[in-house]
Symmetry: C2
Subunit: 380 residues, 2 copies
Amino acid sequence: MSILEFKNPYPSLPPTKVSLLHTSKLDATALANIGFFSTVDRESTHILLTDSNVAASMLDELKDMFNNLRIKIHPVIVVPGESSKTIQAYTHVLDACADVGITKESTVIGIGGGVVKDLSGFLASTFLRGLNLVLMPTTVLAQVDAAIDWRHSLNLPHGKNLIGSILAPAEILINAGFLKSLNDRWIRDGLAESIKIALCQSPDFLTLLSQANPSDFTWLCRVIDISVSEKIVAMNRDSAPDQAMLVYGHAIGHAIEHLAEGELGHGEAISIGMCVTAELSLLAGLSDELTLKAHYNAFTAFGLPTIVPDKYDLHQIWSVIRADKRFRGDKMCAPAVKTIGTLVADGNGKCFLPFGAEIVIRALELNKSRGKTIGKFVQN
Amino acid sequence: MSILEFKNPYPSLPPTKVSLLHTSKLDATALANIGFFSTVDRESTHILLTDSNVAASMLDELKDMFNNLRIKIHPVIVVPGESSKTIQAYTHVLDACADVGITKESTVIGIGGGVVKDLSGFLASTFLRGLNLVLMPTTVLAQVDAAIDWRHSLNLPHGKNLIGSILAPAEILINAGFLKSLNDRWIRDGLAESIKIALCQSPDFLTLLSQANPSDFTWLCRVIDISVSEKIVAMNRDSAPDQAMLVYGHAIGHAIEHLAEGELGHGEAISIGMCVTAELSLLAGLSDELTLKAHYNAFTAFGLPTIVPDKYDLHQIWSVIRADKRFRGDKMCAPAVKTIGTLVADGNGKCFLPFGAEIVIRALELNKSRGKTIGKFVQN
């Protein structure tokens, strides 16, 4: 087991501990001495927030584990998927917490994917004006990216992540053993965030990613460990490219994900978002064709989608992009990759660059036009 | 005009500026050079959050003022009263913000009483994961207490202030001129928080409070200025008694306010809460009869209620107290006044003391039993 730390966004508060512990089953003995599990208040009841998929596959085992550790938990189970990243779901979990008599000594333990992490984080930030937060991510997406964060967001009908809070988790436990019930599609979906990290800051990592397959457990553990440590390096350094890297491809990807209404996973949507952003970068003269091809290649190699689905009108996509948190005036502000491993920076060192409707829609069109010939394009 | 500052709860972030500017009317010229009004982004649209009472009496004037200052505002008007401190009201204002196209450069300007302050604060903390917050309180309660805060809370059906956030306002503008449309009941209601400050930390201030009447505008301005500066001293010092003082009488007062469903103002409810807490303190041997009488005297002098209304069952009050954020195990944790100006501290210097059901219910009974003879009690 290795333990990493990332800094608290509020310098006077303690950092987040991330334990990388890849075991095939939950083991109370192994956990008993890890920070939270040894220090948590044994008198209070703690909220175990999860979704019904995770509950079906591991709630009994989790209950046994917390029971063995003499930690009192009250499970709160939400519907899987984005519908639990809403004010309605938040209201439901608030009621559950108020019903069970939670105190300031209680912890919210979020066990699930990105949605459970966001709902747990927003709940912990706001219930009684702030509780401890512990995360045990159970999807590749959450293990390599979503859970390694202090930002927690809910969606509004107008767009994704429009409300949110800042709270550094006390502890994050990464265990690839939790992924065993995940099917292949969702493992690949999560790896889109690892590819994002590689495209933005590490050509070597991109090479490693291209060399193996997601069903090899040892390879998967290694990719998770590298993704987590690369992301933590970026968060601790916190430079302009580091901040921008976190949301590469997301302005366009989020809009596509919003319009897909659950048909596309987050990783699938941002794969398309990154490919369109690479088109945009080339169109704007910020990048080259080799970098563009490397994008299509990387995602295609993992069977991830790269082309905007035909059914979405491009102006409709643009109108959803306008709800992005970083939209300014009439411009989308987003990072672009210059060459693999390096983001474009402007004269002031800033990595969020403004792109207007016209060039974004042309990039979307170019991406769509490659739909039928993408195999040929990436091979040439 | 004087300008005070209170520290940010996150030491790396800037303090809050509090301008005390008592003018009879809104004056764009006078405001033009004050921090926010001179520096706010002129391109973005800002949310002016208020309630329909304030809107009826000053929205036109406010619009003219912001127009003269070339600050673009979008008014969002909520229902007056506690029903706007709910998730439902929050959802309504979120929709309004998302509809109008708010950006990270936008400010939430909360103009109203304590409820508008809390809703504005929670909105600013969470919309786009955090916007600037400016407060212009329009009630005595908000000017002397509620607005001078970085804590923002909403109620749940289970109890008051069960969810909330921490965000230091960028700027608070205190203007007793905003109080002119307030009737006498609500001026007195607000002064309950000034009496709280005096009982907990300043016998001299209690003397000043007893010497005049709330309809004297000059006296009122002076009381507001002293209340604000006493509270800011306590916030900046942030010792155990300072933290405890802020919520003196509130554990019991909030429960009564919750049960009153709008029939009692916050100040009226905490006046009763402080009197019951003084009974509790005497019962527990922590205080003396002189201190108890000073409580009943101070509130009675301003026509504030001091006795738990007959219609509330005492066990029902206790069951609502259990939802208090600081309730631990089977104990209410609350501060008590030892002698006027001094809180009780335990052997470890802590000022939140545990009180069980039995003694709290006896204190409530004792308070009720004084109902008919309160005049006689305070005179003896």
